[in-house]
């Protein structure tokens, strides 16, 4: 990407990280359109490049060359800055994700807390975008979106809390290493179902894509954003989906570990992590192609009266088991 061409020095690990993320996000948009097309018995994008493989770049270039309309009533600085906030927060979480054994940009011991802090801040981009646009659709969309994001933050934090209580560590590397024996999806299957529902809602995906309910709110909080600011929101959305897929892999599917404790190399480990994350992303698209959208009050009721109590009950259950059998991680 553009970051790689500054000077003639080797691209640093950070640059490769950001460039790689943006590249993979671009191809994810293509993958989603292709998979959706297959599920609906269409062909999907197939003109640009071989089998439409260059479609995301064509789309990106088109958005780059479009006119960026800034509404006259908007607060222009906040209006233009909010997509940048959203995208940088969506990419910042990758700093603590381990791609292979010992290969994270920053292997800090409080990686889980860092990631949760970053994902909580994501609501600011949505809120600022919707408020600054000064349009009724954007306003209502951002209200809904922020209510949804903060609500589903709670079950999300609860699930991570339970995993931390089992593994006894806030570092992603140690959480993955803990799963050498058995992937956590097997002992925590009910919890992983809660987690799957929560990440769908947290990334504003169908069936919880209320902020972008086309019939009532057009495009939600980003209805006034066009051209490059819109592209940034689009990238941020898919970036957070990719982040959540990878997080699911790390927390439940053994991260970069091969099944049955098979030996591996760093390159193979990274490939395994990518494969597992892609499978979770396929699940995202599958759900979108299958389920209809829920109503907004149903969305909030599911979170507050179903997922959150389930989370608390499971937390007390897990803690009781750990204390009763004296198997608390030291």
């Amino acid at each position: 990407m553009a970051l790689w061409s500054k000077g003639d020095k080797e691209p640093s690990l950070e640059d490769q990280g950001v460039g790689g993320r943006v590249g993979s996000i671009a191809f994810m948009t293509l993958a989603e359109r292709k998979v959706m097309a297959s599920m609906q018995r269409r062909i999907g994008p197939n003109v640009v490049g071989f089998y439409g493989i260059l479609q995301p770049f064509a789309d990106g270039l088109k958005l780059l060359l479009k006119e960026a309309v800034i509404p006259s009533h908007a607060n222009k600085v906040i209006f233009l800055i909010s997509p940048f906030i959203t995208l940088s927060l969506a990419l910042m979480g990758w700093a603590v994700i381990p791609f292979a054994k010992g290969t994270a940009l920053a292997d800090i011991s409080l990686g889980v807390l860092f990631l949760m802090a970053i994902s909580s801040l994501g609501v600011y981009g949505v809120l600022l975008a919707g408020w600054s646009a000064n349009s009724k659709y954007a306003f209502l969309g951002s209200l809904r979106s922020s209510a949804q994001l903060v609500s589903y933050e709670l079950p999300l934090a609860m699930v991570i809390l339970i995993i931390v209580s089992i593994t006894g560590s806030l570092s992603f590397l140690q959480i993955v290493e803990f799963q050498q024996g058995v992937w956590l999806i097997i002992p925590l299957l009910p919890l992983s179902l809660v987690w799957f529902i929560v990440i769908l809602a947290e990334t504003n995906r169908a069936p919880f894509d209320l902020p972008e309910a086309e019939q009532e709110l057009v495009a939600g909080f980003m209805v006034e954003h066009s051209a490059l600011p819109f592209a940034f929101f689009y990238l941020a959305e898919y970036g957070s989906i990719l982040l959540m897929s990878t997080l699911t892999t790390l927390l439940f599917l053994g991260g970069y570990l091969l099944p049955f404790g098979l030996p591996s190399t760093p390159l193979l480990e990274s490939l395994i992590l990518g494969l597992k994350s892609s499978a979770i992303f396929f699940f995202f698209v599958w759900v979108r192609a299958t389920l209809p959208r829920v109503r907004f009050d149903q969305l909030m009721v599911i979170c507050w009266t179903t997922l959150l109590p389930i989370g608390f009950a499971f937390f007390i259950f897990t803690l009781s088991i750990l204390v009763a059998f004296e198997i608390t991680p030291s």
Binding site: L65, S135, E153, L154, L161, V164, A227, L228, I316, V323
Partner: protein, 104 residues
């Protein structure tokens, strides 16, 4: 954005409202439920954050710490049940009981 065309006019710059001229400012009143959700979120997020130090030090505080945390969760559960009983999350009831309140 630098290479893109830029020729704005009044209609293009107007807030988008499906082709209608905007009737009023967009920053109008909204339903109180959104505010309640935010306040409830504050309480529960703080609670979950307080539980994080507990679970990573569970080995050292053993069953005494466990029971203290159970009391902590019990108190918050009572508050949660009270909130639900008061209908803090009852969107449908709110919008039908007072007809003039703005819808979400």
């Amino acid at each position: 954005m630098l290479v893109a065309t830029n020729n704005p006019d009044n209609a293009k710059m107007a807030p988008y409202e499906c082709g209608m001229p905007p009737a009023s400012d967009a920053r109008h009143k909204f339903q109180i439920s959104f505010f309640l959700v935010a306040i409830l979120f504050l309480v529960f997020d703080c609670e979950i954050l307080f539980l994080y130090p507990l679970v990573v030090s569970l080995y050292h505080i053993s069953s005494f710490g466990f029971w203290i945390s159970m009391i902590f969760i019990l108190l918050l559960t009572i508050g949660f049940v009270y909130e639900l009983g008061k209908g803090a999350l009852d969107y449908a009831k709110d919008s039908s009981s007072s007809k003039n309140s703005p819808k979400y």
